[in-house]
């Protein structure tokens, strides 16, 4: 029998009560810094001995408080996140770092800062292109972030500490990729639902604890006899965020989700931060260039006088091709959170791309409430039936 305090069991426990560990650490005099989006360079927090804690939305929590601060037709994930904050669920935080990854993140950050009173609050602006001047600007933003963190902690962010933090977080990325290697087999060694629990746990723990959890989990999964049941379809889910096991189970009732291409899955772990001489440069490059999220503008070659749609699609979605082939994926679900503009504009083009590489896909939209799960189930079943024939 597996140990309750290790590996997958531990991940599930943390998933169900994600702030518990952070609160324990806080009681032991650690400072906890919240962040709502995986674009925040957590390495800089770790290097200053701050504990990064992702302030996730909670789909099961009906939004009540956020109504006074945000309109209804607004990203429901951010509405929910803010709602949790306004209900005091994050009051244990010592600070918060928000980032301009998308418009709702930017807008919510302003309101969050206005309605809460953490000792520290910082907003990082982020350009939309990957042009050299944009990268330079973003590096400057990280440098300002450094200054405010240093002022808050009263400590210097030393090159050595930052290097060590980058290495630890890179190790975490490598371990998550290793975990995903275990979904390549059929049936996979680990389910999409279990990975959602692990990833959420990672974003609630100090990096070293997260790495231990991953090592345990990988060891456990490799050894265990009982694997997830083999289903008729192997899916990749492309979404802004898929961080809730209830949603995942809608898919896993009928299919094996072997790749969760969202910030509740592999998105923040696919690449690696380069150890450049100027450490901030490596961080800026990773967060702006390497994370493949719809918020960043990419096209075949900016400055060309004509655009080639095929190449354009390749530059925007090419990263999916290898996974689709290597993980033998036979269906892609484009799971859209309503009012999420950066992802919504991609849908027809992503469909074009997936058609061009011969993989069937479907688009499902929902509003990040539990009420959306039943209709989602019907859509998922219909899709799986089509691709399994």
């Amino acid at each position: 029998m597996s140990d309750k305090n290790k590996g997958l069991n531990k991940a599930r426990e943390i998933y169900l009560d994600s702030s518990r560990r952070a609160k324990e650490l806080k009681a032991a005099d650690k400072k906890i810094i919240g962040y709502p989006c995986v674009y925040v360079p957590v390495e800089m927090l770790t290097a200053l001995d701050l504990v990064p804690y992702r302030t996730c939305a909670d789909m099961k929590e009906p939004v009540t408080e956020a109504d006074r601060a945000l309109p209804h037709s607004f990203c429901p994930v951010m509405r929910n996140c803010l709602d949790c904050a306004l209900k005091g669920k994050n009051d244990f935080l010592d600070g918060m770092v928000a980032i301009h990854s998308c418009d709702p993140q930017e807008k919510t950050a302003r309101i969050w800062e206005s309605y809460t009173h953490y000792p520290y609050f910082h907003f990082i602006d982020m350009p939309i292109t990957v042009r050299p001047e944009a990268l330079e600007y973003f590096k400057g933003q990280l440098n300002d972030f450094r200054k405010t963190l240093e002022a808050f902690t009263g400590k210097k962010l030393s090159a050595d500490k930052l290097e060590a933090a980058i290495k630890s977080h890179n190790q975490q990325r490598a371990l998550v990729r290793e975990l995903y290697e275990l979904t390549k087999s059929s049936p996979p060694h680990v389910s999409g639902t279990e990975i959602v629990q692990v990833v959420k746990a990672l974003t609630s723990l100090p990096v070293a604890e997260g790495n231990n959890l991953l090592t345990e989990t990988i060891g456990e999964v490799k050894k265990r006899a009982a694997r997830p049941e083999k289903k008729s379809a192997r899916l990749l889910i492309w979404s802004s965020t898929l961080d809730d096991t209830d949603i995942m189970q809608v898919f896993e009732a009928k299919a094996n989700v072997v790749m969760n291409e969202s910030c509740g899955g592999v998105r923040a772990y696919r690449g690696e931060v380069k150890l450049t001489a100027d450490r901030l440069e490596g961080l800026a490059d990773y967060y702006l260039n390497e994370i493949t999220c719809a918020r960043t503008f990419r096209q075949a070659a900016l400055g060309e006088t004509r655009k080639d749609y095929g190449r354009d699609l390749q530059s925007r979605f090419g990263y999916l091709k290898g996974a689709i082939k290597d993980w033998k994926i036979n269906g892609v679900v484009m799971l859209l959170v309503r009012y999420c503009d950066p992802f919504a504009f991609e849908i027809p083009s992503l469909k074009d791309y997936l058609n061009s590489i011969g993989v069937p896909s479907t688009y499902i939209e929902y509003d990040y409430t539990t009420g959306a799960l039943a209709p989602m189930r019907t859509r998922v079943e219909a899709f799986i039936e089509t691709i399994s024939q």
Binding site: D67, R68, A69, L70, P71, S73, F74, H100, C102, D103, P104, E106, K107, A109, R110, I111, E113, S114, F121, H122, F123, D125, P127, I128, T129, R131, E133, A134, E136, Y137, G140, Q141, D144, T148, A294, R295, F297, Q299, L302, G303, E304, T305, R306, K307, D308, Y309, D312, L336, R338, Y339, D341, P342, A344, F345, E346, I347, P348, S349, Y363, E365
Partner: protein, 447 residues
Amino acid sequence: MVVQKEKKTINRLKSMYPLRAKVNETYLKSIEAIQAGKPAVWGMLNFYYGDPILKAMDIEVVYPENYGAIAAAMGVARQYLDRADAEGFPTHLCGYSLTTLGYASRMMKELKGQIPPEAPLGGMPKPLFLMSSAAICDARYKWFQALGRYMDVPVWPLEAPIPGIKEFFIEGYYDKMMKLGVKHLRDFVAFVEKMVGKKMDWDRLDKTANLMIEVNRVWHEVNELRKARPCPMHSRDFWSAMPAALFLAGDLEDSLRLYQDMYREVKDRVNNHVGAIPDEKYRMVFAELPPWHSLAFFDKLAERGWNFVIESFGYHPPIPLDLSKVSDPLERITKFSLQFLVGYFEDARKQNVLGGTSAYPYLKYVKEWKCDGALLHPLITCRSASTHLPYVSDMLIEKLNVPSLSIEGDIVDLRLFNPEDALAKAEPFEETMEHYKRMRKQAGFDW
């Protein structure tokens, strides 16, 4: 016999008409020029970064965002929206973007590049390239990227930094924004040169930039005069006149002259205590995008004594800044564009109002233009013009004892805005305004 004159409601500015006529004439001329083969660019409202560059290069620009409003008002948007839906675009996206995507699909897929015959005002011809913008909303660059499905033209997304109010004051922050802006615009110029096959005339850009700044300065001064009681100029005149300053529509020298005329007329009204409506009972602020198709609604409110004295932060010119010593036109343009956003930051920080670039100005407007109420117009498919409104409403009541009335609408689904419903809410809201007027008095405010 005494002829009973119809009761005047909004007393429109005489100087607005020639200005508006110029804007309309320029638009039609530009469409004619494009149809005769002149290169055209589709642009997003970019808050001055890119427009002077295209203007100096003598490139015609059409703004699909504006065209979306025209298509909606003329009743042709529906077929484009349906088309975008059939193409797989989620229906909750910005209505103007969906209109454009449907239009592009009809023009490029069905009509092989010909302008759709049903398109109003000459339609939008296929562009040479697309100039999008990172300012204000995600739709602005993602929408133009999505147009790549229909058109083999490149997109230039103009970067537009959006700092936090507190962060903006970190040492060296402004310089870094400038560095990004200037380098970005320099590369944009090189891109445009390549696209049109000719070199930038830097003297012309210099002059264009100066005129743009001066036009906007005068336009700002016109709006400052509206602090007078009674307010001499109604929001309807603001909205009619603004394209010449915001989109640089028309010849800038003409525009400058016309805004100066407007300044004189408004000043004259101030001196003679002439209001924009006959009996100013309530001074109002409007946020954000107006219901373009139902502007007559404001006449009905004017009959009740509602004078709209200030409005739409997103359309207002930047707070003037002396840029005469900045020799590089690209630097001047960048500073001017940044000023639109950060011009209010010092005040916002002092008052610890951190709720965002679009929120603070309303505090200033209400305080300085001495408003009794705010009419808020949240829109279903334009989130960027709506997100800050609950915050604005909260802030105004809390800090200034000024209440807000919120009336929902949309940019393309015009049925959502119901003027009758809205008017029915006017009377009870007047009681609310009266109540808060008393509260303000008690609290020692001077209006």
